[in-house]
């Protein structure tokens, strides 16, 4: 036991505490000896350096996790307010237990939490039937009804003979514009135009293959201008010009000869002169229908060509005319 010339342990401990408060270095050994003397314990001899004392693990702050939103949603809520616009799938807001994806071996289909497959695809949660109905109700005032009296195509053609077609395009690309949107097509049936034979013939020669003989429709396609409005005006300009040109008769058109005709015309033909001679030479007056039939058959023979039906009809007609049938 260490004794410092009359200094009691109690006084010594007071000195040490004072020293500690004044940040004066004190030897540990002295302090431990003192402590041991106070508590009357056996001193431990430490030969090795102390092991690293493990600090207590850092305690993570436990955040107050709010429960997912779908747990607080009422059953009769207005879903249109929860999902008002198109949005990536959010599992905590959607109260449905949806599953999507190919399951790993031995597993079930992956659920909605953290499901990339569900998030990748476009969802239509913003377009539920009640929301569509509500939005359409709001849009109704901008719509106008179809006027009565033009329900069928025939009636539409009677009132509005011209049909103009245009296409517009909507796609995601670096540019808004699509060059194909400038193309304008105009369709009109020739029976809506006031054309005589000469006018019709001339118009068909001018338009060539833009006229479809089966439907008797003229189709004009304009794409030469950069804007569709310009192409639209050009289409109507072309129609006006074609009509007016075909109604005009140029002086050189009278130079057209029989060989230039695209169709056989009965009036003024040698067949008509020959028939007239036969009728005149015949004592009994030939009936009108026989003459008409002969005329029709000869026209068909020239215009449609010589094949079995036309030739047989011609034979029958001639027999009737001559009086042998």
């Amino acid at each position: 036991m260490l004794k410092l010339g009359g200094v009691t342990p109690r006084l010594y401990s007071q000195v040490l505490r004072l020293a500690a408060s004044c940040n004066i270095h004190t030897t540990l050994s002295t302090f431990s000896e003192l402590k041991a003397e106070e508590n009357e314990e056996f001193r431990t001899l430490e030969l090795r350096s102390k092991k690293f004392v493990r600090q207590p693990a850092r305690v993570m702050k436990s955040h107050n996790v709010v429960p997912p939103r779908y747990k607080r949603q009422k059953v009769d809520q207005d879903w249109g307010n929860v999902w008002p616009a198109a949005r990536t799938f959010h599992p905590a807001s959607v109260p449905l237990p949806v599953r999507q994806g190919y399951p790993a071996s031995g597993q079930v289909t992956p659920d909605k939490w953290g499901n990339a497959e569900l998030m990748k695809i476009p969802n239509f949660l913003h377009l539920t039937p009640p929301v569509i109905k509500r939005q359409c109700e709001a849009l109704k005032k901008f719509c106008t009804p179809w006027p009565s009296g033009i329900e069928t195509a025939a009636e539409q053609e009677k009132y509005f003979p011209v049909m103009v077609s245009k296409s517009t395009y909507l796609h995601s690309s670096p540019t808004l514009r699509d060059q194909k949107a400038r193309i304008v097509t105009l369709r009109v049936s020739l029976k809506s135009l006031d054309l005589d034979d000469h006018g019709r013939d001339k118009l068909l020669r001018l338009v060539k293959n833009r006229h479809d003989p089966t439907t008797d429709c003229l189709t004009i396609v304009a794409d030469r201008c950069p804007l569709s409005q310009q192409n639209y005006d050009y289409c109507f300009y072309l129609l006006t010009v074609l009509y007016n040109e075909s109604m005009k008769t140029e002086p050189w058109e009278h130079e057209k000869e029989v060989a230039d005709r695209e169709r056989y015309i009965w009036e003024g033909s040698p067949s008509q002169a020959a028939l007239q001679a036969i009728i005149d030479s015949n004592e009994d007056s030939t009936p009108e229908e026989v003459i008409e039939e002969y005329k029709k058959v000869v026209i068909d023979l020239h215009n449609e060509g010589e094949d079995e039906p036309t030739l047989s009809r011609y034979r029958d007609s001639v027999m009737k005319l001559v009086g042998l049938a």
């Binding site: 008002p84 901008f142 719509c143 106008t144 006027p147 077609s165 135009l193 006031d194 409005q229 006006t240």
Partner: protein, 210 residues
Amino acid sequence: MRKVASVLMMAGNIQGAAGSIFGRCVVPRKLVRSTPACGFRISEKLSAIPLLRSSLLPQRTLSPKLFHTASLSYLSASDDLAVGEPDKLYSLVEVECRGHDTAVLRSYLTFVSSAASHLNVSLEEILWPKKHIHRWTLLKSVHIHKHHRVQYEVRTHFLIMKFARLTGSTTDTFLEYIQRNLPEGVAMKVTKHELHRLPEHVKPSSEVIV
């Protein structure tokens, strides 16, 4: 189209948060999604009609445009808005959608047919043309290894919807609604067949009623 968007925004403000049409998250996207080339005529027509501004009272209703016909009468003179030009008439509006996923196109068809039935638009025909597969082969390695290749393909599915007998106002409204809700990855082509009278200097035949 500006008119449609502005009134919808106003309607949203009037009805308030509860039961509002688009809720608070409406994002005014680009109003003219179709190309300016074809939108030119439409925007020209709209500028002739005064737009609904926020200074107007909410009770005032927008009146529709006039339309061609002999059987319908014109609007009354008490209407405040200026009498605009006649409404267009479309005998057929074809909407062709293209996408890489049939499920998306099917869902979109459900939405479009539902909207058409609410707005009294007649959906005449629905066609599903055959899908188009574009395949090509590339070399797998950057350098040599000609016998090792990799093949890619892109599948495009088509959906055609035909609507008949639409007026210009209805077409603009309906198409804008549909196009704003077009899903990602789907492209659309709209073909409008408009009815017109003969131009001035072309004489109509007796079949045409002027």
